[in-house]
Amino acid sequence: MAPAIETRDLTLHYGKIRALDAVTLEIPERRVTAFIGPSGCGKSTLLRCFNRMNDLIDGVRVSGSCRVSGEDILGSGLDVIALRKRVGMVFQKSNPFPRSIHGNIAYALGLHGIRERAAVDGAVERSLRSAALWDEVKDRLHESAMRLSGGQQQRLCIARAIAIQPRILLMDEPASALDPVATARIEELILELRREYTLVIVTHNMQQATRISDFTAFFYLGKLIEHGPSARVFTCPDRKETEDYVTGRFG
């Protein structure tokens, strides 16, 4: 099976600081890949390469190659909007728009030309069901999304991201701001989504990574130290740094 995302010698500088150092990595389709590593190791930066969100930061230089579904995404001629339609993203802090629950998802659909009422309503229901939020909000779709609880807001953000049917979903510490119950719901959801989407998740939580991921990549100081099936990375890692990190000796 062709990898969903493939990087080769991907190096990224913020000004003079090297945030990623020759990362070569393959992310398989319809699996959950977790990025772990101490703060500032470049895992979020790498994640943001996959949908070109780093473009918004001044002074970013990238070299090497990065392919999504076989297509090079670092070229200047790339249609970023089309890329972001295929590669959705969920952020650490839930960020619903100050609109209704329905309006949040309808906005995402509208950006990609879906405005017909019946189609929008259908997609809203479908994505809320996929995000395991439908039963909780179906009677108040037109209330402000800001009234939802933190966990519900995060699930709404996931629903919004999957409403436009991406192939890949990037999640930057999606549960780090949530309480244990809400976290458990998000984790269940991730295991559900894994059937249809390729998921890449940045997390600081080792237990979470072991619970939900098929593959784990460990980063340290901008370098990819180790990458492999999660069971192996967490139980018998090849590298000393990985072992130290996953057993909590540093980081």
Partner: protein, 400 residues
Amino acid sequence: MNSPEVPSAHGASGTASWPGHRRGHRARWPEWLAEKAIFAVSLSTLGLLLLILVFTAREMIPLLLGRTNSALIQEVIPAADLDRVPRETLRRHLGMGRAEFESMDRATLEAILKTREEALEEVPPSFRTDPDARVNTVSWRHLFLPHAWTGHDRPAYVWQPVGTIHKYNLVPLFVGSLKVTLVGLLMAVPLSLGAALFVSQLAPPWLREWIKPAIELLAGIPSVVLGVIALLVLAEALRRWLGYASPLNALVAGIALGWTAVPLIFSVAEDAFTAVPRSYSQAALALGASRWQAAWQIVLPAALPGVLAAVVLGFGRCMGETMVVLMVSGNASQLSWSLLDSTRSITATIAAEMAEAVSGGPHYQVLFLLGTLLFAVTFVTNLAGDWIIQRLKSRLGGTP
């Protein structure tokens, strides 16, 4: 205020001896003093506002109570009848308060009545038959409703505080102020909101560092300078371009007024846009929105309360601006909704006529009435704006 005692280091709870003890929190006395001083200063602003209102309103109290009569020919009680008329009738006739009336002796009253008789005799013969001469031009009816003055073939709104019969209809001035303000806002609001959105959301950082201070510097230019530019350059350029008759009119004044309001609206709106969490635009971008779509469809609606506040402030600024309007509006107090007619605003009227109005006279009182009404209009607008902003905020924030 009682002087604060320095609390002992072991100041036990329950024996709080000075006002710094409150809710289990013990302030050090310099902190307490500083806090109270700041509070007093902020309170004094409120007090100042109230004083301004009282000061302006006080001058128009006689007008408000209908004691002022500006008619050229008034009924007089002959000085000879002084003893025959009931004292209460006399007091009302002279428009005096009770205390003031009691303090007058007989000779003074007689002198006042005589002066009135003489004034009546001095009325030019041509006005003796003119019905206008008997009109109290500062009554509410004549301040707000049209009247068919001699020489006008139908009722008209006239502000004309010169000549023998002074006409004080306020409507042309209100229309003038609103007209000019509307043009100013139409000019300034899109321009400054656009600039603010660009600077806060779209511009690269180096450009932002230049544009923002440049626009805010505009606020430092005295409005008289803007007035001169409008007078010498803008008025003539517009006249040539549009080919209308009077070079000084509401359009020119409105555009110049827009310049003065831009920096204020810009900086308030820019703050509002910048205060919108970056996570909103990030979310929109990650969903495939362009930067423009994120700014226009997500950031702008989220910043709507702040934007509205900026517009309300801009309205107040435009209504209150005096110098620019005085210089380039043409100052003709005619009632007209046309932008190409010469026009006169409330503020320009006060500025131009205050010096020549007899202190305490009808004209003077009417000018103060104008000031108070201006104050009221701005106050009500701010209040309404605030109410709408609160509603918008609760709708956006989701708190019921």
